[in-house]
Amino acid sequence: MAHVALADKEQELAHPKTWIGMYVWSQDHKIIGIQYIITATAVGVIALILSGLMRLQLGFPGVFDFIQPDEYYQAVTMHGMIMIVFMLTAFFLGGFGNVLVPLMCGARDMAFPYMNMLSYWVYLLSVIVVCASFFVPEGPTGAGWTLYPPQAITEGTPGADWGIICMTVSLGLFVVAFTMGGLNYVTTAFQARTRGMTLMRMPLSVWGIIMATILGLLAFPALLVSVIMMTLDKTLDTSFFMPAISSLGENLSHEGGSPILFQHLFWFFGHPEVYIVALPAFGIVSDLISTHARKNIFGYRMMVWAIVAIGGLSFIVWAHHMYVSGMNPYFGFFFATTTLIIAVPTAIKVYNWVLTLWRGNIHLTVPMLFAIGFIFTFIHGGITGLFLGNVVVDVPLSDTYFVVGHFHMVMGVSPFLVVFGGIYHWFPLLTGRMLNDAMGKIHFWLTFLGTYAIYLPMHYIGILGVPRRYYANGTTEFLPDSVHAANFSITIAALVVAAAQFLFLINIFWSLFKGRKSPRNPWRATTIEWQTPDYPPKHGNWGKELPVVHRWAYSYSVPGAKEDFIPQNEPPSKYTRGEGEV
């Protein structure tokens, strides 16, 4: 029996009259999504600048006096944590999740709008706390984004007093914020779908976001547990993780703690985190490819089940991050096997994207360029993942730049390309204006080619044995001159790519006010977020009547149909059934 009361509860929605009520303390999922997007972008720019500082040091060692070892390690740490947690996770789930899930499911809003609003404000608080660590005595933590104890909380590591506390507190707040948001996304997709929107009619974007949310809800507690226990080790001298240790010539009061326990907990969160970022990207890129190739997604059911399988398997691969921690070789074998198995559903997705493109009516729009770019970078990042998943290959490559190149390709560049593709695709829906096409294409090519110029040489210097996280390689004899030349060229490429991102921001601001007015449904998409009565959609999304969904989300180029797309909410007729004019 259909239960539409929640989806159609217009009378229960908050209808604020003031500007502050509408745009600041807003309970409208679209505004909250935009708030997430703006905050995540702002903090992402900080992380981008930090990566620029790192590259300046590595490309021009010793030239810039203001980058000393402490600042370098702080930049490494903050860049990693901000990008992964506060930027990408928040952007995909808080940003795209908020904007897309209710609209694509045909709901008026999230299931719990007030809690959804709280989720954003607690997230903002977590961002403020993590950024505040730049201003505390000794600055932010420089322990590396993995925050491994005992190093992270022992004197001598930058930010071992205040910085690490800011980091653990901000992560704790983030988990709380994410949980409040995640409850909303899952409940909305399970319960607030409009009539006709069966699970298997949902666009893959929703599937990706929801599965990633489920992973986050189950995996983020591991991060919470580890930061709670580390905070206690730091502040109240417990010994969860801290072994007996001397610091700066003095024996500390800790004894017997297990740093490896922290690694298990951290990576129990850390590996699903890869898929928390990747699954929404998988979903969104599927929709972008299908829409801009004017072709139904190849193997929809397989795509859905691949998302579910990847989600399940992502919980039993965590220790492949710990091959060099001294683990039992049988465990290594087990985790290598599960790691290789997870490549199967992932490869299914890649084949299906390529097969969707095959003989499609490909429109090389900016979103499509980013989607195709994603396929390239994801394949490259994924294949190097197979290298690192094998114990015997991983051990010599562990903690080298090969690893840095790998994970930046697979969970840095690839999701970012989808973020950009998604923004170019859905910007008109939220603003009623198109982004500038020329600037978009320049942005794409500089970013796409630039990232290859950055990360391919990293694989090379990694194979040569250049360790990651080193402030300076110095005159190490086993490193040939080509390493220094590569580092120089990587830095130049990184600066160019960074500059290209500012071009993107300029495009956003310019188009917001001066951009071409967008026609309704400019990409001629089938999904119902484009079929709202008001364009851009207003609070409540659907006016008086909720849409009724009649088909799946991929009715492109249906033989006999009047147009090359049939919206999900278009009632069946002789034209849509292919019995009419041809």
């Binding site: 989806a7 409940t187 399940g312 009649h550």
Partner: protein, 221 residues
Amino acid sequence: MTATLIVLALIMGGVVFWLIFQTINVQPWAEEGPIGQHHAGGAHSIPAAKIGLVVFLCVAASLFSLFVSAYFQRMDFSDWRPLAEPDILWFNTALLILGSLFFQRARNSVVNGQIKGVRTNLLVAGLLTFAFIAGQLWAWQGLQEQGYFLSTNPANSFFYVLTAIHALHMLGGLWVWSTTVFKLQNQVEVYKVRMSVELCTIYWHFLLLVWLGLFALLLST
């Protein structure tokens, strides 16, 4: 991490099992038509608040199972010295069981529309929970007096952390309980508090189960 993997396998297994029934033999590309022709469509009849609570309970289950996994891993180290659990924990456990029982009675009353029964049972259940938390604090006090401080030994640390996290969850539940009691004091009609009472009951039963698990763990190690 075995404990965590078992809990997550149960949760993910439930999700997959449910999805199989939702998706088997469905060919979305071949189906077109108005509601009712192929599917009932739309979402199902369980209220959103209940789904939200169940999802949250999965999150809490993951959290507690991770603490338990960490507990098992840490206790393998040689410095682990088990502490003697205070006897008052038995009394506290009885209080929590009674609290859960009274919540169940309150839930039965709300389903039958008996406002008086709801009010009385809810009040007793909440007071029993407050007594439980006070009892836990008493247990802490007793341990402190015997020299079992937080940082003296990892077994102590885990005892304090596990009981604190559990009590924090109870306090969160008491917040919802207090808003419900407040509504009842304002003479609202019984159907308006039905959902809150039902949700509190589920939540209390869950936290009772968690506590029984934790208590068994503490006693057996």
